[in-house]
C-alpha cells in the first residue's frame, strides 16, 4: 500500500483564523465548524459564521452535500491565502452537516484539548 499522505485537519475555531494566528499559514489543513450564513451555487462559495467571525469556504470539491442556510456545517479543508488582499479562503475536501451539535461544548472541548496537547508535548516520554 502507498504511504498515508492525507493530513489531519487541525481543530480550530473561526476566530483562530485571523491573519495574526499561528494557524493562518498557506496550505494548512484545518477543521472548522460554523453556521451557514449564505451560499452561492454559481461560485461554489459558502460563508459560515460563528459568533462574530465570518469565513468563506470553497465547496467545489464537495459532492452529495446539500446546503441549507442556518444549518451548522463542519469542513475539513486547506487554507488558501490570497497574496494581495491577505485574507483566507478554505478549500473544503470533506464536509458534513452537524445540526444538533452543542457549539458551547465544542468550544470548551477545543480549549480542553489544546491544554491537554500542550501538556502532552511537554512530556514526550509518556508515549
Amino acid at each position: 500500500m502507498a504511504s498515508l499522505e492525507i493530513k489531519s485537519g487541525a481543530l480550530v475555531s473561526l476566530q483562530d483564523l485571523r491573519p495574526s494566528s499561528p494557524f493562518f499559514e498557506q496550505g494548512a489543513s484545518l477543521r472548522i465548524t460554523g453556521k451557514l450564513h449564505e451560499y452561492s451555487i454559481e461560485t461554489g462559495l459558502a460563508t459560515i459564521i460563528d459568533g462574530d467571525d465570518i469565513l468563506k469556504v470553497s465547496t467545489k470539491h464537495l459532492r452529495d452535500l446539500t446546503f441549507q442556510v442556518g444549518s451548522v456545517y463542519q469542513f475539513i479543508s486547506e487554507l488558501l491565502i490570497q497574496a494581495v488582499m491577505r485574507y483566507g479562503v478554505l478549500q473544503a475536501r470533506v464536509g458534513r452537516n452537524v445540526d444538533g451539535i452543542d457549539l458551547n461544548l465544542y468550544h470548551q472541548s477545543l480549549l480542553f484539548l489544546r491544554q491537554f496537547q500542550a501538556n502532552h508535548l511537554n512530556n514526550p516520554a509518556t508515549a
Binding site: 492525507i6 444538533g100 472541548s109 484539548l113
Partner: protein
C-alpha cells in the same frame, strides 16, 4: 507485538471516532480507511481473502464486506481494532466499525480520551483541569454527558 506504551502501560487495542478520509477496497486483498479525529490521521486495515482455505480469513472477508458497505467518505465512524505496524507506520487492524450519527459524538469521545489519560494512565498527576471543566469525577456521570 506491543507497539506503544503510555507511562509504562502497553497499548494494543484502540477505538477511534473520526471522519473517513480515504476508502480503498481491493477485492481479495484488503480494505483500508483513513480516519481523522482532529488530532491525527491513521490508516485502518481489514485483510480480505474470500478464497482462502482458512475459515478465519474467510470470516475476515465477510467482515470487510460489511465494513465496506457501511462506510463512505465524509461520514463519522467508530472504529475499533488492534494496533499494528506496516513499513514503520502505526496502523490499526479493524475488528468493528459503527457509523455514528450523533453530531456530538466526536466531542464526547475526545473528552473521554483525555479523561482516560488523566485518570487511568495518570500521565499528568499534578495537572488540573478545574479551570476548564470544573472538578471531574472518576466515576459517575460526567458533567457534559446528557441526561438520559
Amino acid at each position: 507485538m506491543t507497539l506503544l506504551y503510555c507511562k509504562g502501560i502497553p497499548i494494543s487495542f484502540m477505538e477511534i471516532v473520526g471522519s473517513i478520509m480515504l476508502w480503498n477496497l481491493k477485492h481479495d486483498q484488503f480494505l483500508c480507511f483513513a480516519v481523522d479525529d482532529g488530532t491525527n490521521c491513521i490508516l485502518l486495515l481489514s485483510l480480505n481473502d474470500a478464497n482462502s482455505s482458512s475459515v478465519a480469513c474467510r470470516h475476515h472477508h465477510d467482515h470487510a464486506m460489511r465494513f465496506a458497505s457501511l462506510v463512505k467518505l465524509d461520514i463519522v465512524a467508530i472504529v475499533k481494532g488492534r494496533l499494528s505496524r506496516f513499513r514503520g507506520a502505526v496502523q490499526v487492524t479493524m475488528s468493528n466499525v459503527v457509523v455514528e450519527r450523533n453530531p456530538n459524538a466526536e466531542i464526547f469521545h475526545c473528552l473521554n480520551c483525555i479523561l482516560l489519560t488523566h485518570n487511568y494512565y495518570n500521565v499528568f498527576p499534578g495537572w488540573g483541569i478545574d479551570g476548564v471543566m470544573g472538578p471531574v469525577q472518576v466515576s459517575g456521570r460526567r458533567p457534559w454527558q446528557q441526561r438520559e
